[in-house]
């Protein structure tokens, strides 16, 4: 290391902290602004737009927003999104773990080929599938229901299968081979031995999946027509329609409220997220 005077070093450290503080504040300023705006009275909302401290705190935006738009209470959308994210995550994670076991632990003909196909699907634009998928689901009468959104998740999601395979490769085979010699069948080995060992990966996968389904927009937009079935995202979008009269205070409040579960997950499980992103190297 080059010798450096104490004061030069101090100055450099101070520079770092100043720059990092200012820039990270700028990064989260819009989010803080959204939270602050949701608590402002209507007259203040457009007077001092930039302000982060409401002059008078009011919950009116929340009560107004929660009472809903177009005759549907906001809790309906909240519940729709919660059920979709919960069920979708459960299905996606469990089915992906099941499939991952096959790819990671069993030798069979064509395995390499199918695994490559699976990785390739990560790079295929979804637009190529949505039109025929829509036609198919329309023919069996599934449009305007959650079936086209949830049923596909039973067939494993490539991203999670890949993630779990990577994780299983790090678990010594002796553990499941010992059980297999004891006469346990594949299903038993999977359910009793590998699933518990996979727990940390399942957990990370679940968090990712909750994020993605909670925020998912294009698929619900295509399949759900009646407002009663809207997810939070769809409700927020249609009720902030620029062509209509919009109560921005209520929109801010409901927007922020829709982010609360996401932030809660982030704060509670940041460690898992960071690890998951760093180890798979894939976008989170």
């Amino acid at each position: 290391m080059r010798a450096e005077s104490r004061s030069a070093r101090l100055a450099r450290e101070a520079c770092f902290y100043l720059a990092a503080s200012l820039s990270s504040l700028a990064m989260i300023y819009p989010i803080l602004w959204l939270a602050a705006s949701s608590l402002k009275a209507p007259d203040e909302l457009w007077r001092k737009v930039y302000s982060l401290v409401p002059e008078r705190l009011t919950w009116a935006n929340y009560t107004k927003g929660w009472s809903g738009f177009g005759g549907i209470r906001f809790e309906v959308f909240y519940r729709n999104s919660a059920i979709y994210a919960g069920l979708g995550t459960l299905f996606a994670v469990v089915s992906s773990a099941f499939v991952a076991y096959g790819f990671a632990r069993i030798e069979f003909r064509g395995k390499g080929f199918w695994f490559a196909c699976m990785l390739l699907t990560l790079m295929i634009p979804p637009q190529i599938q949505i039109i025929p998928q829509y036609v198919m689901f329309a023919k069996i009468g599934w449009v305007n229901s959650y079936l086209p959104l949830i049923v596909p998740k039973l067939f494993g999601q490539a991203f999670f299968v890949f993630m779990f395979v990577q994780f299983l490769r790090g678990i010594p085979r002796e553990l499941d081979e010992a059980a297999a010699i004891d006469g346990a069948g594949r299903l038993t080995v999977f359910a009793r031995i590998l699933l518990p060992l996979l727990k940390p990966a399942l957990f990370t996968g679940s968090i990712f999946s909750l994020y993605w389904t909670w925020n998912e927009f294009m698929t619900p937009l295509i399949y759900l027509n009646s407002p009663r079935r809207y997810t939070l995202s769809m409700a927020l979008r249609s009720f902030s329609d620029p062509s209509g009269l919009t109560d921005w205070g209520a929109i801010f409040a409901m927007s922020f409220l829709s982010l609360v579960p996401i932030f809660a997950l982030f704060v509670a499980f940041q460690r898992y997220l960071v690890q998951g992103i760093a180890t798979t190297g894939l976008k989170g």
Partner: protein, 298 residues
């Protein structure tokens, strides 16, 4: 005995990957082939598809200026947003890659926008930030600058509000770079210091080459994501003004699901897939020139 075991393995293998295989064949492969066929038809979903030959492709390439505008806007978006996001992510990762107090807190703050960035709530908020009476204009006025611009209605700026939204979410890439930086052996830097290399030289000769596999992988994935961007354009700018943000996926959606030209939409989707494959292949091909794998050099 071994033979029986082997046959059992075949069956077990396909049993376990069965759910995925079924989904792949029915929900991915079949639709891909079906959309190839649909791309040569006129199809409005109500009446059966009518064979149209190359008409959809002809219209697209020769008679639909909106098509080319959407392709150009998408390429422009991806070409700006992806390098910007990766560049910022790398810069911030370098700054945070020191054992300083409080680094974890900064990391969390920088990552926070990526956690919420894909949500509709943020898209709605973004519209408000860049609106006429929005946050940005309010801040500009506060700084004594003219703050009257309609950012979202101005063809020069609208697309940049979307690029900025993408760059704002550099958090995931930053985390991946941070993990990569931790993998670089410290001895490399030490011996470079002994040889008298300065920080710039160390960055160019050690950090950057060692990170190229990560940069490459992220470049490919983010490029694909950039080319299929949909939600922000629909919610924030609605494809306006003058189609400057009418991105490919959005235009495709409108053709297929708003005017129900499913044949035309399928043709667009196939060209999109071809373009993604071509661009990915180009990046892959170029990678032998700039991506550095440690094991090769040893």
């Amino acid at each position: 005995m071994a033979n029986v075991r082997r046959r059992k393995d075949e069956a077990a293998g396909y049993l376990f990957i069965g759910p995925w295989l079924f989904g792949f064949l029915v929900l991915t492969l079949l639709p891909i082939l079906a959309s190839l066929w649909l791309s040569f038809t006129d199809y409005d979903i109500l009446s059966p598809p009518r064979w149209a030959g190359l008409k959809n492709f002809g219209t697209m390439f020769l008679a639909d200026p909106r098509y080319w505008r959407s392709a150009a806007a998408t390429l422009y978006y991806a070409a700006c947003a992806v390098p910007l996001r990766l560049g910022v992510a790398l810069g911030v990762a370098m700054l945070l890659n020191k054992n300083r107090r409080g680094v974890a807190a900064f990391r969390a703050l920088y990552y926070a926008p990526s956690v919420v960035g894909d949500s509709i709530a943020v898209a709605v908020m973004w519209r408000q930030i860049f609106g006429g009476e929005g946050l940005l204009n309010s801040l500009l006025r506060l700084a004594g600058l003219p703050g009257k611009r309609l950012w979202l209605a101005d063809p020069r700026f609208a697309i940049w509000t979307l690029i900025l939204l993408a760059a704002w979410q550099f958090g995931s890439a930053m985390l991946i770079f941070l993990a990569g930086l931790k993998q670089i052996p410290g001895e490399l830097y030490e011996s470079a210091s002994i040889d008298g290399a300065g920080p710039a030289r160390k960055f160019l000769r050690i950090t950057l080459p060692m990170l190229t596999p990560i940069i490459f992988f992220n470049l490919v994935m983010q490029m694909i994501n950039g080319l299929i961007v949909f939600t922000p354009a629909l919610v924030i700018t609605d494809g306006k003004p003058l189609d400057t943000t009418n991105f490919y996926a959005l235009y495709l959606y409108r053709r297929a699901f708003e005017t129900f030209q499913m044949g035309y939409g399928s043709a667009m989707a196939w060209v999109l897939m071809a373009a993604v494959a071509l661009l990915s292949a180009l990046v892959f091909k170029s990678s032998s020139r700039w991506v550095f794998y440690e094991s090769e050099s040893a």
